[in-house]
Assembly symmetry: C2
Homo-oligomer: 99 residues x 2
């Protein structure tokens, strides 16, 4: 979750959104050098958000479905709580007007 803080890392995930990609291809089009991309990929991998697969000298990275699912579930439960609190507040305000 902390890995989503950096803008470049979000750009990387955005480029991996539709399918796997190699590191060089990934760095091509990003405003940073290739080693920087490697470092970001290490962070993302440590966070369980991406996974790698070797293909000759290249390494193909893809978004890790399991890791993203965890973030998604946390987000959904958070959203549910916030929505419940919002509706409870609206109902409490409605009762105020009745008195």
């Amino acid at each position: 979750m902390d890995a989503l803080g950096d803008g470049t890392r979000r750009q990387i995930l955005e480029r991996l959104r539709r399918g796997p990609m190699a590191v060089g291809e990934l760095a091509q089009g990003l405003p940073v050098s290739r080693p920087a991309v490697s470092q970001h990929l290490r962070v993302l991998k440590g966070a369980g958000l991406v996974a790698e697969r070797r293909d000759g000298t290249r390494r193909l990275y893809r978004v890790d479905t399991d890791g993203l699912a965890e973030v998604r579930e946390y987000f959904e439960s958070f959203w549910a709580d916030v929505l419940a609190a919002f509706e409870a507040a609206a109902e409490a305000e409605a009762e105020m007007e009745d008195e």
Copy 2:
């Protein structure tokens, strides 16, 4: 979205999860000073993730439902793309074994 990068800000949102809270009450229990909390709240407000309501000398903060909904929608579309790419890759691999 960039506002979710900091851990303290996520703690603040976590404390606002079940309902509104004042700034002092919010800072109480966090490992940082009250002005630091104010600065974080300003960032979160700029990102549209929280909203304030004055109550005497106090200011009650709550999670902004609309702002959070935007982040949620982006997340859902991202999740849909990743899942589609994953299933497409699995299907392509299944065809490989047929040949």
